[in-house]
Amino acid sequence: MDVLLLSRLQFALATFFHFLFVPLTLGLSVLLAYMEWKYVKTGDKEYLRMVKFWGRLFVINFAIGIVTGITLEFQFGTNWSRYSEYVGDIFGSLLAIEATVAFFVESTFIGVWIFGWKRLSKKMHAWCITIVAIASNVSAYWILAANAWMQHPVGYTIRNGRAELTDFLAVITQKGAIMAFMHTVSAAFILAGFFVMGVSAYHLLKKQHISFFTRSFSIALTFALVFSIFEVVQGHFNGNMIAEIQPAKLAAADAHWETQTNAPQALFVIPDEKNERNLVELIKIPGMLSMLAFNNPNAEVKGLLDFPRDERPPVLITFVAFRTMVGLGFLFPMLTIIGFLIRKKLREYPLYLKVMLFAIPLPYIAIELGWTVAEVGRQPWIVYGIMKTADAVSPIALSQVVTSFFGFLVLYTVLGIANFTLLVKLARKGPDILEGVTEKREVTV
């Protein structure tokens, strides 16, 4: 173990953990805003109960997301100080803008929304969650633009021994930022949709709160349907972009070793990283990889062997993560299309409801794997082509990182268990929690 490896593990831990909470926040805030405006427009109390029930789950999730996000911002300084100094001119400003422009708004209005039920007009209250939904998604854009810059640095020049900004607009409007935003936010919306559908399915299976959960299910279904189809199409263009700007990542994601035109895609592959080949390649479709990467079956796809060994990302992790993510990515629209076809008589299909209940974790897995492809696939670079991860780490003592790593591990385990048992408990109780809670407590005012 050295400072570099442990710092990477610590960052991975902190990011993976943080990202268990972010996508639900991004997606559920939009659904909540929709439900609350429905309530304002129709006056139907069931929508209000829906906002309160899903809102309660949202609030818990949001709080843990916030507290675990702060550590990420500061870890660039603590563990990656050389990186921070080298690219802070660009990367730092994107993070700062995110906090100033979006995060401020989000955190202020969430407080007003949570506590303001009795103090605001219905409309004003609905505006609060709408603002939260917009601000969290705007926030995502800035963060993803920062990450996109690490994947594909643009609008900079190397001056005074560091990367300096030359074209701000190029940085924030580059294709990678827009693509990553669409990809990540759609994924988050799918996750939130599956979350609501899964919990609803549980209650529909139990034959309780039928109207409440049928309605919740159908709102989430429409939402997830649209974005899961969009994600497949967008994912393809995302792949085209990777092929163009990060050929090594594409090659690793497909375990593609030899540069060739008319490159085939095998459906089943076992990569053998050590011997720079694939142990097994079954069911090859000729020209398919060229087609997927460049929309042209005759295009040349650069293989891993044409990259120096020390500029190749870890193949096995990238490959497995990518394949699984893509597989899940195709599964989601299939599940939502089936749901759409049987939407009028969901309760007659308990098997489907059961599948949807157990599908709750799948988008979480897909999202974490997506980040694995993005980040592991960028290695050995921290900023593609200009700075290696190994040169980015802070000059700090190993003992410090060991201590903080285990601190994170313990703390996040406790929080993770507390959070998810709580969510499961509340989700199982259903809208009963809205009435049940007051009586249980001994309150003296």
Binding site: F74, E164, V443
Partner: protein, 340 residues
């Protein structure tokens, strides 16, 4: 331009201390003044809608350090690795405690999360002070920004004095806030604490001002341009006014006065460091300053536009949020627990 950013940098940190200060202080006070669940609930309701928005000032202050002075950001947080990690853990404990206590059904579970909240608040308050006092004093960093010391290097007498000063200010500020926002026995207790804590705060402030003369170089800038002495004078005025308003039981004014006091205490220290943001105690040439750690003029310009538009905007909507929740809080269930 670098100087404008230097001042903004100080102002953002000062705003963070003033805002998050009272809710962290309220957290530390909880075991001393809350007698039962209803009291704890009142404390929770008094800070619940705000703490999240307050904490963002830290994110913004940190983010601005990164954006405007990346060299300082890199050195500051890697040099103070252990302290910063402890502060981050403490803030996680605090936030998680606040969020999860509300969901606990059993008293014992609630108590468990309350201790997260209390201990988190305490550690964050103390260590923020230790960190900043060490900045004022200078830390052993070499030309490469490598830190020659450990956690205990920072726990020197002056660093600890800073920790105590911050903690006492947060407590006083929190006690004033709770007095302002609550009624009944809790109000009376918080009021007693506010009065007594203020006396300690005066004593500590005097000690800190004197110690600063011996332990740091802060006064040099003031002796060179005496007009700057207006900053510590404003701090002193804030402190005295706090005492006067506490006597007059005018809690709103007392809160603003104590906010003003600490705002200027922070600026007093920060301006004293100018042009350094992170002085080196080994050799002034190794200090991270506005000259050797600032971003490019283009970045500074863009960031300035962003800050000048969005920070005032944030102040406006945060002020609105405070207005929405004006008035005394009770011990009732709030937010997602008040039923439909």
């Amino acid at each position: 331009m670098e100087t404008i950013w230097f001042v903004l940098w100080g102002v953002l940190w000062a705003a963070y201390f003033v805002l998050d200060g009272y809710d962290l202080g309220a957290g530390v006070l909880m075991p001393f003044i809350a007698r039962d669940e209803a009291d704890r609930k009142k404390i929770y309701n008094a800070i619940g809608p705000f703490w999240d928005g307050n904490e963002v000032w830290l994110i913004v202050a940190g983010g601005v350090t990164f954006a405007a002075f990346p060299g300082t950001y890199a050195t500051m947080f890697s040099a103070l690795y252990s302290v910063l990690m402890l502060i981050l853990f403490a803030l996680i404990l605090r936030g998680a405690g606040l969020a999860l206590r509300e969901e606990a059904e059993k008293q014992s579970h609630r108590a468990f999360w309350d201790w997260f909240f209390i201990i988190g608040s305490f550690i964050a308050a103390l260590l923020l002070g230790v960190a900043f006092a060490n900045f004022f004093k200078g830390i052993p960093i070499d030309a490469e920004g490598i830190f020659h010391g450990n956690l205990f290097t920072l726990l020197n007498p002056y660093g600890l004095a800073g920790g105590l000063l911050f903690l006492t200010f947060f407590l006083t500020h929190g006690a004033i806030w709770l007095t302002f926002k609550t009624e009944g026995e809790l109000h009376d207790k918080a009021m007693n604490y506010a009065g007594r804590l203020w006396v300690i705060l005066v004593v500590l402030s005097v000690i800190f001002l004197i110690a600063t003369a011996f332990a740091t170089d802060i006064y040099r800038n003031y002796l060179n341009s005496p007009v700057l002495f207006v900053l510590p004078l404003l701090a002193v005025a804030g402190l005295l006014l706090t005492g006067i308003y506490i006597k007059q039981v005018d809690w709103k004014k007392a809160w603003f006065a104590s906010a003003g006091y600490f705002f200027f205490v922070t600026l007093f220290g920060v301006v004293g460091m100018y042009p350094a943001l992170l002085p080196s105690s080994l050799n002034p040439a190794f200090s991270r300053t506005i000259h050797n750690s600032a971003s490019s003029p283009l970045t500074l310009k863009i960031m300035l536009v962003v800050a000048l538009i969005f920070v005032p905007l944030a102040i406006i909507y945060q002020a609105w949020a405070y207005k929405v929740f004006s008035g005394k809080v009770g011990g009732e269930h709030s937010g997602y627990h008040e039923g439909v």
